[in-house]
Each structure stands twice: as C-alpha cells, then as structure tokens.
Amino acid sequence: MISFERVSKRYPGNIDALADLSFSIEAGEMVLLSGHSGAGKSTLLKLIPAMERATRGSVIVNGQNVSALKRAAIPFLRRNLGLVFQDRKLLYDRSVFDNVMLPLAIAGFPPGDVQRRVHAALDKVGLLTREKARPITLSGGEQQRLAIARAIVNRPAILLADEPTAHLDEAYAIEIASLFRAFNQVGVTVVIATHDERFFSSYATRRLMLSQGRLAA
C-alpha cells in the first residue's frame, strides 16, 4: 500500500531529515512511527501526500510513484488519503459541520451525500450533537476528534496522523487512540507518528522506530 525505496530527504542547508529509508506498509496495517522529536517522523508522513518531495528514492502510494507525480495529479492523490495534521488546521470561522464538509466540497460530492457523510463521520467521533458549534468552543480532545472526522469523511483507505495525542490529557488521548483502532479494525490502513507511544502500543501491528532519519530496528 505504501512503500519507501531508498528515500532520502535533504532540506536546504544540508540538513538530512531522512537518509536512505526503505520499508513498506501493507493494507490493513496499523503502523506506529516513533522516535524523538526531530527524528524525521513528520517529514516521513509529509512525503506520502506529497507535502514534501523526496530528494532521492521513490515513495509509492497505491501503486503511484508520489515523488514523480505531476503537480496537477497531487490533489487526486490527496483525496484518497485521510490526514490528521499536527497543528489540526481547523477553520475557526466555520461550524463543526462546515469543517468536516470541506473535503467533500473539494472532491465535489452532491449535497445530499455531503450531509449524510458528514453526519456519519461526526457520529463516529461522537460530535454529532455539536455540528453547529464553532471549533473554538470545543475542548482540546473534541477538537482533535473533529480533525479526525474531517480526515475520515472521505472514507480514505489510508489514514495518516501526526502526533494526534499531543497536548491532550491522558483520558482524551486514550479516547483518540481507540478511535484510530476502530478505523483500523474496519480495514483502514493507519500510520501514526508519535513520540508518546504508550497509548497506541497495544493496538499497533508494527512499530517503526526512527532515529536521526534512519530506521532503528
């Protein structure tokens, strides 16, 4: 489903974020990407939706070589991925419903479908009663659940999450972790980057440990 072949990423100033990385993730896996901050977890995740491009090597997602993808093809790659960003990237001037609706509007779903799918996604993360609320009135855990609802509303086959439990109380973090597990159980391939793996370790099928841009066994 996702495979990295001898991937290196060098940022300007000769900073090697990833060096000669090779691994592959099969459909239905739940992979934990761990390591200290600065180990290259975020960079690795960003290579998958082409938010960053590899300096060397190839990143294959769903049989497509992302590193060689044309600019015009990138939007269509992203529509098949569910992304949970480290900084959540919620739109605070829109309602909960409108935030979740955004990926569907972008992909051009007809209005009837949109409402049904948004409600389904909000229901899964337990925010159905808050659809008219503004994100700012939600708690930290609820905001993270909102970000997850937006990521899964498209029913993507792959869900990528960057530090989804950061800045959350333990109770909230456990809740979030079980959400990811639930998605994985219905067949979604899940990749989670976290420096705090205790919430996920019992659910993950595999753990990739990054250290200074390399895989540490």
Partner: protein, 302 residues
C-alpha cells in the same frame, strides 16, 4: 455536467456570501467600479447625443448665395433663373434684402443699430437646397455658382458639419483612450481586492490544497467574486449614467426649444447597456484571474 454546475453554483454562492458578509467594503468596491465605468459611459452617452444633434442640423445641407450689393433687379432675376434651371438644385428660396433687414430689426436690440446705419448693408440672397448630400458634389456646386455674374459669395453650410465631424472624431479617440485607462484601473482595483481576500483566507486555501483541492477549485470563488463585483459596479454605473441623463434632460430641453430643434437627450441604448455590463464582468474577471494566478504561482506550498 450536473456536478460541474453544482460546483459552479457553490462557488458563486460562496462569492455572494463574501459580498454580503462585508457590506461596507462591498459597497466601496462597487462604488469605485461603478464610478470608473460611469465616466466613459457618460462620455459615450453625451457624444452620441451630440451626434444626434449634429444630424438634426445637417439633415438638409443648404447653400446660401449672396448677390453683390450693386446687383440690379434684372441681374438678380438672372441668377434666380439660372439657379432654378440648374439640375443639381432642388429648391430655391429668394430672400430679399429689405425682408432680411426687416427680420433682423425684430430681434431684440437690433432695431436701433440698424436704424443708425446709413443704408441697408445686407445683399439679396438665395437659400438653395441642393440634391444629394455628398460633400464633394456640394463643393463643386458652390465653386460653380460663385463664378457667376454678380454673385458675391457662396456659403456652403456643410462646412461646419465637417468641423463637427472632426471634433466628434477627436471625442471618440479621447473617449477610447480614457476608457482604456479606466479599464486598466478597474483591473487593478479588482486585482487588489482579490489579493487582500486571498491574504485573509490564506489558511483556508492552504488547508484546501492539503485536502486535495485543485487550482480550479481554489480559483473559482474568486472568479465569481470578481465577476459579481464587476456586474454590481456595472449596475451602479448604469444608475449613475441614467441619473445624469434624467437630470440633464429638462434643462437641455429648455435650451433646445430656443433653437426649435426636435431633440431630447437619450440615455444609454440597450446594446450599450449590455456592453457596459459585459465589460464590467470581463474586467472583474481579468483582475481576479491575474490576482489568483499570481498567488498560485508564487505560493509554493505543495
């Protein structure tokens, strides 16, 4: 196709919402566009009316033939006969010098001046209506008559029509230049409005890209915004021009009755109104196209 329509409707609705949510800046934007469009449109309207008025004058070119002051009755009769027989002339009206001065005396303040004159300074004259309106032909006729015996001067009334045409031509060129500059200004205005909007929505645009939005999806609402602002501005311009027409019509009518012309100030013609709106929408679209295009090229947040 249905989806395409739906996406466009959605983008249009979004643009409308943006206009509605910021009524003050919308009003300002529309006013600026409206005034910028109203200036050349008013110019066109006035020019068209001038043209109409000019046609009113020159519908029937006239030739005034003035006899020499010392011409006797027989010589005048000879001129009249030759004019009446001429194949290029449709109608001849004789204006006797006595009748002419009598008419002049009726004009306010002229009687005293004329009475103080030792003798009648006016010559006998003929007002000639020629066949056809071709300027070259008329000029030939004028030159021919002026060579006749006891003809002092021949005045072709179309000379001023030529001058008026030259002025009109100048007016058209100035107006075209003026419109061109204001068109550029309009593009710049829309460009800037859209640029400011993009800046305030940067976060949303970047997020949309990360969620798989194509450039077309991002552009669309801004295009609609540019077009809608242009159309509203076009509406404002139309109101301004129509208002000016309405305000000028009454005083102009009073003025025109002095000269006994059949003339009433015309507003913009339907075709011109259509053109006004099309130009407004087009300029708005170009402005937004340039603005969003520049942003998408420069912002390299893939």
């Amino acid at each position: 196709m249905k989806l395409w329509l739906f996406q466009h409707r959605q983008a249009c609705a979004l643009a409308l919402r943006k206009l509605r949510l910021a009524p003050f800046s919308t009003l300002l934007g529309v006013l600026v566009v409206g005034i910028a469009l109203a200036l050349p449109a008013t110019g066109q309207m006035l020019l068209d009316n001038f043209l109409l008025l000019a046609r009113n004058f020159s519908a029937q070119p006239q030739i005034s033939v003035f006899a020499a002051l010392n011409a006797g009755k027989n010589e005048i009769g000879a001129i009249e006969a030759r004019l009446k027989q001429h194949s290029g002339i449709k109608e001849v009206r004789f204006v006797a010098r006595d009748a002419a001065i009598a008419r002049l005396k009726e004009a306010a303040g002229m009687a005293e001046i004329i009475n103080s004159l030792p003798e009648n300074p006016l010559p006998d004259a003929f007002v000639v209506l020629p066949h056809g309106t071709d300027t070259a032909q008329l000029e030939k006729l004028r030159d021919e008559i002026s060579k006749w015996h006891m003809v002092e001067h021949v005045q072709l009334d179309s000379a001023w029509v030529k001058r008026a045409n030259a002025i009109l031509e100048l007016g058209h060129i100035s107006l075209a230049l003026f419109s061109g500059f204001l068109g550029l200004a309009l593009i710049a205005i829309t460009f800037n409005t859209i640029r400011l909007q993009i800046l305030t929505q940067r976060e949303e645009i970047e997020l949309s890209r990360l969620l798989g939005a194509t450039n077309a999806f991002i552009r669309r609402p801004f295009f609609y915004f540019g077009i809608l602002q242009g159309l509203l501005g076009g509406g404002a311009a139309w109101l301004i021009v129509t208002g000016i027409t309405y305000l000028l019509r009454q005083p102009l009518n009073e003025l025109v009755t002095f000269y006994s012309f059949d003339f009433s100030l015309q507003g913009l013609q339907p075709m011109q109104t259509l053109l006004l709106f099309v130009a407004a929408a087009l300029l708005g679209w170009i402005g937004s196209w340039l603005s969003v295009g520049r942003f998408l090229r420069n912002a390299d947040f893939t």
